[in-house]
């Protein structure tokens, strides 16, 4: 066979035998400031250098898949909010579009546009958190507050359109829960104008800071084929130089109508696929999201965006694997219906789960501080890892 199998770890530890000392086992988490939730990583360290890292997950397992089998199709939507609680809109969207494709349902134009707008706003909000917490992981406190200041404005917009600030339950089968209130469109456009210059501010304080670059460039390199093999997706995979975005390459909703660039890592500060590249993809993607929002709002049709089907739907028997591009990557819903009022099976292919699984492959040979940088650059949300 021509292709070699990807070994469990890509990287050999670069410590001469004469310098090796006794290894120390260290439990990082589940309560640790930079595991982004209740992740536990069992580290074996030789001084500051990590020889092996094994993630232990499941501390936030809330039985989403079991729940989904015991409630109606529509009742699952609020549960999807709680998977990746930082980007709930995107989760709603993936599940709902999956159902709509199974039911062969057309959604009205206004609702489609609103779905795209809220999803992209949520993508910005999620990437902002990724940026801010990444700064925290590296030791820079101030950017964190800057991004929260701007995320707040997005949450205000969400509050206005659906009444919730974190768990929206907004995108419903056949449409959206509420139509946008008067003046909402203008407020979003206003936010876009406000947001564009802010990206420069983040770049000034964090992205191009010398120490930040030193800390992140050439660290935690995930080569493209390793990334694909490990199922890494989204900005983390694009950071490795893979030009792949489901919004463009496997389009859903009305994403095929918009003009935007897919950002990939180019190794500007070091090697392609290092943590800086992954970080940079997120920064540049926010600008692209703003572009999409502008285009969607420009063509926002009049009419009613509320859902047109009854709440108590029955999905025809069959199965479908629906994947969408969330801020963390490829979120897949594998839905099996037996034609009844409740799902037979809803399996979530969680991007954070797959992204995290690459950690044991890149961790050996790095320092503890680098491990923190790598976990941060994968941008995991434990709610989604454990479901």
């Amino acid at each position: 066979m021509k292709k070699s199998n990807i070994p469990e770890s890509q990287f050999e530890l670069q410590v001469p035998d004469s310098l090796k000392t006794e290894e120390m086992t260290l439990s990082m988490g589940p309560q640790h400031p930079s595991t982004h939730g209740v992740l536990q990583v069992i580290l074996k360290t030789d001084g500051e250098i990590i020889t092996s890292a094994k993630p232990q997950i499941g501390y936030l397992h809330r039985c989403f898949e079991k729940h989904a089998e015991n409630i109606t199709w529509h009742q699952v939507i609020p549960f999807t909010d709680r998977l990746d609680y930082i980007a709930s809109m995107n989760n709603n969207l993936g599940y709902v579009i999956g159902l709509e494709r199974m039911m062969n349902l057309e959604v009205n134009e206004r609702a489609e546009h609103l779905r795209v707008v809220v999803s992209e706003l949520n993508r910005i909000a999620s990437h902002l958190i990724a940026l801010g917490t990444y700064g925290l992981d590296i030791g820079a406190y101030t950017p964190f507050l800057y991004v929260f200041r701007d995320r707040e404005k997005i949450l205000d917009l969400f509050e206005e359109i659906c009444g919730a600030r974190l768990l929206y339950n907004y995108i419903w089968v056949g449409g959206v829960a509420y139509d946008a209130p008067d003046g909402w469109r203008e407020k979003v456009l206003e936010f876009c104008d406000y947001f564009d210059p802010k990206v420069k501010e983040y770049n000034d304080i964090l992205t191009f800071n010398k120490i930040f670059i030193e800390r992140t460039a050439n660290v935690g390199v995930i080569p493209a084929e390793v990334g694909i093999n490990y199922g890494v997706s989204g900005p983390s995979l694009r950071g490795s130089g893979v030009d792949f975005d489901l919004r463009r390459d496997d389009p859903y909703s009305i994403y095929d109508r918009f003009d935007f660039n897919v950002i990939t890592g180019k190794g500007e500060m070091g090697t392609v696929g290092d943590t800086w590249d992954r970080y940079w993809v997120r920064v540049a993607e926010m600008v692209e999201s703003v572009k999409i929002i502008r285009q969607a709002l420009e063509n926002l049709p009049e009419g009613d965006a509320k859902e047109t089907v009854p709440r108590n739907i029955k999905v025809p028997a069959g199965e479908y694997y629906m994947r969408t591009e969330t801020p963390r990557g490829e979120l897949g819903f594998y839905i099996i219906s037996d034609g009844s009022k409740m799902p037979n099976r809803v399996k979530v292919r969680s991007p954070a789960f797959c992204n995290l699984s690459v950690l044991p492959a890149v961790a050996p040979g790095v320092m503890i501080a680098d491990l923190v940088a790598i976990i941060g650059s994968l941008d995991i949300v434990l709610g989604e890892v454990d479901r």
Binding site: G139, Y141, R149, E214, R215
Partner: protein, 349 residues
Amino acid sequence: MEPLVQFFFNLLPFLSDWPEWLALTVIGVAAAIMMFGFIAIFALIAIWLERKISGHMQDRLGPMEVGGWHGWAQTIADTVKLLVKEDIIPEKADRPLFKLAPMIVFTAALSGFAVLPWSSEFIPADLDVGLLYILSISSFAVIGILMGGWSSNNKWSLYGAMRGVSQVVSYEIPAALALLAVIMSAGTMSMRGLVMAQSGNILDWNVFNFFPLTTIAFFIYFIASLAEVNRTPFDLPEGESELVGGFHTEYSAMRFAFFFLGEYANMFVVSAIAATVFLGGWLPPFEALGFIPGPLWFVGKALLLVFVQMWLRWTLPRLRVDQLMYTCWKVLTPFSMAIILLIGLWKVL
């Protein structure tokens, strides 16, 4: 006679009638209490200031509620909280060492105040080797850090302690070498003598004296001092996002407060050294401003440097261990050695 004793005799003339041993004891205790009071008050203000500064840098207000005006009483409230909080000692900790560690750290910070020249009259102890004393006493804190990290019986604390020790010990070298450059030009190690050597106007200050050599020495000292007091970008021993809390992870209540107090006292000490050695101590920048008392100049200059430390903390990310060592051994140390060499040549020629 010691300037301090003279100062007290001038202040309270009846002291000179007392027997000498009694007068000296009273003066010594009074000076120590004054220093302790100064540290406590300085820490209260500095912590409040740090919160306000960080707040404004981060586009928010910082504490606004406690005490009314801009939350001025916030740190006092926090101190009370720390005082009444339960003091937790981990079961498997090495108790005597665990209890001793914060005291050592704080004592080392307090001892540094003994030789700071507040003005030409008020120097608690004008040692001939003042600078040497302060360098050696401040490295004493390392033992406290190591004890705290080791006795906590926590691997994260141990990492913090090991990082702290390697960092402080390494950075003492560029710091000492940078100061040595100035000692060579001034020809004295007495804090008072160092300030006296800079009298004149702002251009006679050591920082501009052998321009640009001493200016570089000043920056080297300042960077190294950041590392010595574990401030960002060199806060690796605490490194919250990596090591949870570093060497003081297991400490709580008043013992934690002592570490905290020691850190702020140290911030002031290193800034005060920089102000004394490089920025003319209590001297005004221009003769015309001589009407403002010396201690105000001294404290003002030190506070300015403390502000810069805070400013850096809220701007910069943290270095990694190997980068930290690289900066020390391959950048700062060679540069400071070159400066010593050049100043030596300059003096000889």
